[in-house]
Point group: D2
Chain length 464, copies 4
């Protein structure tokens, strides 16, 4: 491509080390789309004739077909997807292919391809997140009255419902989708027309290309346009948080399906066994989802570290954006999709959950708040009940075993109504603050989540 | 605080290891503000009497004053800022202090404090970014006609203007501000009222507290509310990108002030010397800005890794959000502020830049595009000019030394007008594509940047 | 310090941004020790007179005392520990202080200070790791016969002993100590005498300084010596792995002390409660140990990212080595120390562990290997037993409920001796392969671990 | 493989999400070697007969051949390399294949495969580092007298030689090799025989397998053995530091080949051009080496984050060790190999370097040390010369332009001999401290480096 300037053959080792075709070939459809839009613009502004354009466009159409069908043959000498497509274009269309690169550099070309791919990846992951939300919401609706203990520090804390617990993940997914939609908006800017770094002396119509490719705007500064990889970092970081959320849900699936918790069972279709131990049934999907959080954190680090300290404008270091971004979005998409299926089929054991929640300890806070409603200062109420908890533990009894007299001994503000605290369903109903675990709150959460999904869909539809 | 429940004194080593007071004392104003809003609400819903409220509020007011004046005395036993404030509240107000914790846990309290601090940090950094943009825009306006070479791969590429180069960083800062404003919007949600994990059995008015503290909304799910640290990750990641941009600008300042480039000089006020070498004058601020990018990438990793695999809801691991988030926002704020001052005082050497841009090689693309306008296919034009470049390098001449005949020998499409290509100012003017380096584009960039600043200010003003 | 060269006062903002005194003041003892060794060498080679040396050494002795007692007063203008010490030296000793910096730069001085501190940190953490090993080994010896289920995928797998389980962490700690000792050996090289970058024109005796400061060798290349921070990265990375191991042990403590597992109880001295819930007793030390793994991973990233792409030799970016390295070593040291105390006091519930291990599923592998010893190919044996496990689960029975006939129906290779498989203690004894869970193996592991500790102590003692 | 236990077909999505065959197929030779050693041991301890062993070994030999030749056909259903090999073994050898998995789990099998691959990777990278050292040492010997400026803060500091500068990278590579050799020693431990987690009830001879596979020892604790991935972290972290060093050397190549420095030229065989700009000649290998540092930092983070918080023993998360470790070692190996070739062919411009070093400022330290040898305290000498530097800069003169009288005015300790300071070669010779830039020091560095290489080769040869 630069044999005019550099006289000698490139060293094979240099070729291998600098080649990106194994990673960037997935940009093929974007590269062809970008070239077709560029060629049409060149024709419209008069830089190439109609016949030349027609020949180029037809050849690009054929290349697109070959790429999609798998018929496209890559050469060992194809350094990247851009040179592969251009090489094939020459084979099909002959010397007229030489006009396509008019007013264009691989620097703005690859930035354009990457943004097209990044926008699509955002949309795909948002779609998967909405599906996960939908699945979680369906299960949450079914389990709105399933009482279970909530945990803090992995110690039983207070009673909640499984529906409420699952809706916490809906809230996370909603924020994830919002972040990815914001990232997509910031990514929705066309770099093409920036040339290698300084724009072009030719009368290019950037707006037309932006419209043709579905970009909301054109970049405002050519030097920034060819060296900006913010969108890759922002999307990777958003995916890292998606994966962290996935890892938290995964951790719970692992805990819940353990013999010790026994809150849920995976169907055999979604579990794996052991090559050695005939007894094993494991939640491998959840474990991998958890483990793969690490790789997306790593991808984000790779991008940030790669960019650190680079002067303007394009530097070849930027080629490293691809493997990291693609790995981040692929991992997030596959993980959310797999976890959605797991959520769909997970079999909850309502009885086991209720049994765990029937530990009277989890109502100690209710006893303290009972005192508050009878005029005891909270700190005092907390101490009173704390001492009772300590005592029953020492006696291997439970709070539910205490007699009214024992309660009254601890504080005169108790009367026999304290015994009614230990009705689990009533305990759920009592938690009336907005954002709480009872059915009313769950209904409100579901309604809000549905609105969020509609808004996300509207944002997805409104562009590119 | 839990001496009712746990009978023994906590081990001193455990106290030391779990204490966060050294890090979270900066939350003091937020903690007091949150407590005052909570107390007012408790009064309004009838959970505490007016007199008790008045006593508590007065004491909190006094504590606020003590904290701001430095008169507040921390105890060795103060585990965190919440217990320090509560301890002092008891000292001032006596037993009535015991009602303040009604319907509140440190889990939702610290999440509230952190969100108040995080929102303020976002606003502060956005403010600093707008100041940096303003400074860069002023310098860019002054240097709109200062010709310099652009670089790709740190090799001279094509002529641009310094104004255009500086505006690339305005574009980065604008995206940074957008990310932080988006993060702030997502952070603008009140957790208080979520209790430890499951809400409360008491009739709390969460909306009133949200309004009092300037939050746009209340959290929808109590389990999510106490265990969500997305805002910390999102802000840290946005700061990491701020720092990566700072590191790129810093790298250029280091390059430009080197003897080899000589494009700029730091005034003695903004340079440092050597303890050994009497000749040295170094750009230490820029180097530290570059090096400190690493720590904010590290902070982001710390947060993501900390969250990975945590089950719901609150776990003590979350305490680690503070040092990482505070370090990220402090570093970003200090760095942007310092770089703004450096940009303000940096002395550009326009002559040196123009001399560097006068390397005729940087107009090779113009020669190729000249041929394109005369009907030569770009690939052919590129090869023709590439061969000329190679030849003049071998002959230790430059493109500007070529005679019209030599040009014509290379391609019959050249005529004597080719010699006019080597007027640098005309070369800048020729780059007419939107986003290019000339004055018209710079004016457009400045106008757009001003609109961006106004919009950012409006978003800052519109909330909290 | 460079007011000769740079005429103007440094901008206050630049001073603040570049100051490191808050972080590097802990290097004070190393800085003074380095200066005293340097001064003695300058006297011995004749660069300063005996009287001047005596005055300087006495003043440095006084400074050391002031620093250790807290009497040393830092100035707002002290940029770093080196300038603070030099400033005070002038105050005490007068103009003669001006000779101390002969043949020395802050570049080689700070590298020397950092290596002294790094070596000491390695030794401290290794010491803590040996104490953790000792504690784990004591508990492992006590629990050599305590049967518990091992877990893979957090599913019960096969019976092991708690002693064996704890010894897995001894193996990790032994590798950690080995890594830190290797890192310390590579760190044990004196940079002083490298000057700012190019050595010195003065007749310095580097070997004498190395001996005085306890370094095993002097650096071989001055440019490398002032810009090398490998030791910081290597130690931080080793600490990250220490913390990852701590996080794994912490996770198990959290699981074991949960109501669901119930394998262990923390004494009240080593647990914390809740500000809201009177029932809670949490393993906060373990959770913080787990969460703090993130910050040390982040520190490692900060160092690597800071170093990436720096040209030789010293750049101010390197100042950022301090906060990251100090945070990594402090966190590792405090965490190992805290976990050791937790291991010391953790109360195991042997009955609960044995009950969990009494799940007959965990002996399914024994049944398959029983068949192998009777000539059945393992894959076939695995399938036979797997089908039995599935069947008993469907029937809500266990493997231990199967009659001899049922076993024989599954495979004619079973006879009544299969029923003896379900003796847990015998099952432990059967696992005779070296590295297994029984007492013989535990004794061998303990003996090997004791040898490892002796070797580590010998390496610690053998140098500086 | 577990169809006995789990009745249903695995969901296709679960199969896809959990499959590792795309990544772990490169372990094929190790997997086969491990199986052959295991089978031979099973025969020797009497667990399988000689004829069965012969059939299995022959089939494994055939599989090895198929894998190496590319004739091996992977199935869509092959979940990982272990199941692929076992599936093929059944095809070739029939039911007897079922005995191979006796006393072995995929947990200890994959750990064994990974360690074999990791040990080989360490050896390969160490070999590449020794080659890089050799190349740098050859160039350093050639350029032992080539004077150039050293830089601190990218400002010219003092004169050094190019030979000395290159030897700084030899020192880095030597430490890198040491770290990888230490990592390899810690990795040289056989996990096989640990079973899934708890060893085996069968009489396995682990020592025989260790010897057959070239491991120095067998693991001491079965639970640690199957869940330990320290070796992956340690090697990845060592590779991250290798890459950071590569990024520093790369940065210098980029700087040196810029028009502004002009210290070196890449031959056309090792440079790349631009698709748009006919003038460009770029150092893409160096830029990619610099950018790829980020990905190996990311790989290290991925591994650490994946391991964080995992309870014992094997969890499926560990499968993620492969992509990260393989990426780290592949990137380091390819980068060192590519940079070695670049170092071999880089054309230095000795004249340009000497011209840059002829800036008299770089001898300011010599002037100060000149005063020291005449009894002026260094701090005073520094100030005297600093003021002279400032004055000549203001006058647009240089230190070399000062008359003897001007020197004497600045300090009476100067006499006419000061003018001789400005002989560059003498300035190099003056720097006599060990570790300095002159030929004597370079010879010593080369000799030490040669000894280091011999020792590294001896360590490589001494094991596995």
């Amino acid at each position: 491509m630069w044999s005019g300037r550099l006289g000698a053959e490139t060293s094979p080792l240099v070729e291998r080390y600098t080649s990106s075709i194994d990673v960037d070939r997935r940009l093929a459809p974007d590269d062809v789309a970008g070239s077709r839009a560029h060629a049409a613009m060149l024709r419209d502004v008069g830089l190439i004739g109609a016949a030349d354009h027609a020949a180029i466009d037809a050849a690009l159409g054929q290349i697109d077909t070959e790429l999609r069908s798998g018929a496209f043959r890559f050469d060992a000498a194809d350094e990247d997807i851009h040179s592969a497509v251009e090489r094939r274009l020459f084979e099909i269309a002959g010397p007229v292919a030489g006009v396509l690169h008019t007013g264009r550099s691989r620097n703005d070309q690859v930035a354009t391809d990457m943004r097209l791919a990044a926008k699509r990846a955002c949309a795909d992951i948002v779609g998967a997140l909405l599906a996960l939300q939908t699945s979680l919401m369906r299960r949450a609706g079914e389990e709105a009255d399933t009482v279970m203990p909530s945990y803090t520090h992995l110690q039983r804390a207070q009673p909640v419902t499984l529906g409420h617990h699952l809706l916490a993940y809906v809230a996370m997914a909603e924020r994830d989708a919002g972040r990815l939609l914001d990232a997509r908006t910031r990514c929705d800017v066309l770099p093409l027309g920036s040339g290698a770094v300084a724009g072009s002396t030719l009368p290019l119509d950037r707006g037309a290309v932006a419209t043709a490719l579905g970009f909301a705007a054109s970049s405002r500064n050519s030097m920034d346009a060819v060296s900006d990889r913010d969108f890759a970092v922002e999307i990777a970081a958003a995916c890292a948080l998606v994966m962290v959320h996935a890892s938290r849900l995964a951790e719970e699936i692992v805990l819940w399906t353990s013999a010790e918790f026994g809150f849920a069972v995976l169907p055999d279709t979604h579990a794996t066994g052991s090559s050695l131990m005939p007894n094993k049934k494991n939640a491998d999907v959840a474990e991998l989802a958890r483990g793969r959080a690490g790789r997306v954190v790593g991808d984000t680090v790779a991008l940030l570290t790669m960019l650190k300290g680079l002067p303007l404008a394009y530097n070849r270091d930027l080629q490293e954006d691809k493997s990291a971004l693609f790995d981040a979005v692929d991992t997030a998409l596959a993980t959310i999709t797999a976890l959605t299926e797991v959520i769909d089929v997970l079999e909850f054991d309502r009885g086991a959950m209720r049994r765990a929640a029937s530990d009277p300890d989890v109502l100690a806070t209710d006893a303290a708040e009972y005192l508050v409603t009878r005029g005891v200062a909270f700190r005092e109420a907390h101490a009173v009940v704390g001492r009772l908890v300590r005592r029953v533990h020492e006696q291997r009894r439970t709070l539910a075993d205490l007699s009214v007299d024992e309660w009254r001994d601890a504080s005169p503000a108790f009367d026999e109504s304290v015994l009614q605290l230990f009705d689990l369903d009533a305990a759920i109903s009592r938690r009336r603050t907005p954002g709480g675990p009872n059915r009313e709150s769950i209904d409100a959460q579901l309604a809000a989540a549905r609105r969020g999904i509609e808004q996300a869909r509207a944002r997805l539809d409104s562009s590119g």
